[in-house]
């Protein structure tokens, strides 16, 4: 119990004991503990005209989005007493019974020529008022995008924070192709749907990294039988070879202002971390250690860089100023800590933490160095934060295949993303979209 809490309790006690009329000293009960969980929300299946087959179950996408975030617990539809699809049909009492904190209703109607009109409303059940209401008219292939936008609106209204459902993820897939493999750099919606291939190669692709504005992705390609670093425009597909030095060119990381890349080069004989200015490709070497230094990541304020080094014998996370000075070890728990990246608020790092051959996505509090393992899957890799810091995307293995998964950053809710075939690895969560709703 904190001092403040104790003081408040004392004040309450004194107020009670002094027996003054309630009007003078009104009873105040302090609530400091809630229950951890998702906000219970009722998402009524959107109304659809009879016999109409829609390309997407919009309300289903919304429900899945909100559930995956960990911030919401959609209420089982079987418990619904009524199924309103427009404003006049809403009876708030029905939703108080199921203890919902939010109600989402809506409808999808054909607008002709393959277009659809989507309407939705979000209600505060206890104040009995509408919190949000929008109408969209879109092509059939945009219905998922609309559903994600609606999810973002609901998320922001009810949590006070920006949703990430309309953002994207980038990742590498590997499929069998004849004697060898086919590697793809893809991007998809944050839920893994609508994949778009940005690059295909018969040689390995690695380490995709989004530019801060979300328009470019840096990655490593072995298409020349050795690792070379490229930056590719996401929308147009045009790309630039930015690092093609002797030896290793790998692990690109964008500076927060997007003007520089931190990367790992072995051109001087050993894997060291450098910073390249993108305007003139000039290089600054930051590390000088006979050990391997790699996987740099910038702090959100651009003042520090964390990286992985085995200078202590085993791979661990170190921190240094962006000019390479003041190197200090960050992780002390576990045999192996690698692949760290900063949360958007700079207060924590997500990384892969290994003990006794098991590698889990984990969260490290920068201020306290407290390490929290977030998953129970044994071979996690490449964790990265969602742009709102509330979820972490990582790769893991299931049935011998690489898959992607998300975990809420409190470790409470984990969910695999659906992919059709092959291995999926090295995911990276995009920044917020430039053009976001409201």
């Amino acid at each position: 119990m904190s001092k403040l809490q104790a003081v408040i309790k004392f004040v309450v006690l004194v107020a009670l004991l002094s027996h003054v009329p309630p009007a003078a000293a009104i009873l105040t009960i302090e609530i400091t503990q809630g229950v951890e969980g998702g906000l219970p929300i009722a998402i009524v299946p959107f109304g659809v005209p009879d016999k109409e087959r829609l390309p997407q179950d919009v309300s289903g996408v919304i429900e899945a989005d909100l559930a995956r975030s960990g911030r919401f617990t959609p209420i089982d539809r079987k418990l619904f007493v009524s199924h309103p699809t427009d404003d006049r049909q809403v009876v708030f009492k029905d939703w108080r019974i199921v203890k919902a904190e939010g109600l989402v209703i809506g409808s999808v109607k054909s607008a002709g020529q393959g277009r659809y009109q989507v309407e939705f409303r979000l209600y505060d059940i206890y104040k009995e008022k509408q919190l949000a209401g929008y109408s969209y008219t879109v092509e059939g292939d945009r219905l998922r995008a609309v559903a994600h936008q609606i999810s973002d609106i609901i998320y922001e209204k009810l949590t006070g924070e920006r949703g990430v459902f309309s953002t994207s993820i980038a990742y590498i897939t590997r499929e069998r192709a004849g004697k060898g493999f086919r590697y793809k750099l893809q991007k998809a919606d944050a839920d893994g749907y609508n994949p778009v291939t940005l690059l295909t190669s018969s040689e390995p692709l690695m380490s995709p990294a989004w530019s801060p504005d979300g328009t470019r992705i840096a990655y490593v390609s072995f298409e020349q039988r050795r690792p070379v670093l490229y930056v590719q425009n996401v929308m147009y597909g045009s790309r630039t070879r930015v690092a093609d030095f002797n030896g290793i060119n790998s692990a690109p990381a964008w500076s927060p202002d997007g003007t520089r890349l931190a990367l790992t080069l072995s051109r001087d004989g050993n894997a060291e971390i450098y910073v390249m200015r993108l305007s003139d490709n000039s290089l600054t070497r930051l590390t000088h250690d006979p050990a391997i230094d790699t996987e740099p990541s910038w702090s959100p304020d651009g003042k520090e860089i964390v990286f992985t080094s085995d200078r202590g014998g085993r791979p661990q996370i170190y921190r240094m100023r962006a000019d390479g000075s003041d190197v200090a070890r960050v992780t002390f728990e576990g045999d192996y800590n690698a692949c760290a990246s900063y949360s958007p608020d700079g207060k924590s790092l997500t990384l892969v933490s290994g003990t006794q051959g098991r590698y889990h996505a984990a969260l490290l509090q920068v201020s306290s160095s407290a390490l929290q393992v977030l998953t129970d899957t044994p071979l996690d890799e490449s964790p990265s934060f969602a742009p709102n810091g509330r979820m972490i995307l990582y790769a893991t293995e299931r049935a011998g295949h690489g898959v992607l998964a998300t975990v809420s950053s409190d470790g409470r809710v984990r969910q695999m993303l659906k992919f059709q075939e092959g291995d999926v690895r090295e995911p990276a969560w995009s920044p917020f979209n430039r053009s976001t709703p409201n």
Binding site: P22, T28, L158
Partner: protein, 274 residues
């Protein structure tokens, strides 16, 4: 003392009486004396008459007569003197008597006075004694009364203190009961509202909002309104929702205790679980 006008001439009347008596006696004596001269016969006179001749005898008789007369006169004189002396003596005696009487009277007076004085003194003393006793009695009575009053007062005070103590104890017990009931229901309410307050991971320890709540006696929440915002609308709404979702709140059956919960506040202030 009784005022007496003749007081300064005591026995005046008696003196006059005595004087009159004295004169009467004197006149009587003179009268008796004269008769006495003609009458008395002495044995000696008979003897002399035998020895003298006539003339001579006459002469003798004459002389004797004279002598007799003279003697008579002398006798008378002597008697008178005697009487005078006697009178004087009587007078003196009388006076002495009188003086004695006066003395006696004086003494008697004195004695009487003394007695009276004594009596008075005694009376006074007795009176004083009586008074003293009365005073003492009064004093005693007063003291007793005071003592009793004091005792009574003390008793009353004790009784009143006892009553106060008892009242206070009853009140304290009532208050303690009320207090423990209040505390019990406060805890129940806290638990119930806490259990309906969903923290999906977004609340931080610097968030705080005050929610004013109105209940009806069934415990149903008829209003839950943020009166001091956290600045975060979603947090504020979660707090209001937590209260509504917890409705009806557990309430004491005692109407007086319910009054504490008719109108009250919740302070939502997330803390790390300890």
């Amino acid at each position: 003392m009784r005022p007496t006008p003749r007081r300064r001439f005591p026995g005046g009347r008696k003196a006059v009486v005595y004087a009159v008596l004295v004169h009467v006696v004197l006149v009587a004596l003179v009268v008796i004396g004269v008769r006495w001269q003609a009458k008395p016969v002495s044995p000696t006179a008979v003897i002399q008459a035998q020895a003298v001749n006539d003339a001579e005898m006459q002469k003798e008789v004459q002389r004797r007569k004279r002598e007799e007369a003279e003697r008579a006169v002398a006798e008378a004189q002597r008697k008178r003197d005697q009487q005078e002396r006697e009178r004087q003596a009587a007078e003196a005696q009388r006076q002495a008597e009188q003086a004695k009487l006066a003395e006696q009277k004086r003494k008697a007076d004195e004695k009487r006075k003394a007695v009276e004085a004594e009596q008075k003194r005694k009376d006074a003393q007795r009176q004083a004694e009586v008074q003293r006793k009365q005073a003492e009695a009064q004093h005693k009575k007063d003291a007793e009364a005071r003592r009793q009053a004091a005792e009574q007062g003390l008793k009353e005070q004790l009784a009143s203190e006892e009553k106060e103590r008892a009242d206070a104890q009853v009140k304290a017990e009532q208050q303690a009961r009320a207090q423990s009931e209040l505390a019990r229901f406060e805890a129940l309410i806290r638990q119930r509202v806490g259990n309906s307050w969903v923290n999906s991971g977004g609340w931080t320890q610097n968030m705080e909002c005050l929610v004013h709540v109105r209940l009806i006696p069934t415990g149903e929440v008829i209003e839950a309104t943020v009166v001091r915002s956290s600045g975060n609308a979603a947090f504020d709404r979660s707090a209001e929702n937590a209260v509504y979702k917890a409705s009806p709140l557990p309430l004491p059956e005692d109407k007086a205790l319910f009054e504490h919960f008719r109108d009250f506040n919740f302070l939502f202030h997330p803390q790390e679980r300890s």
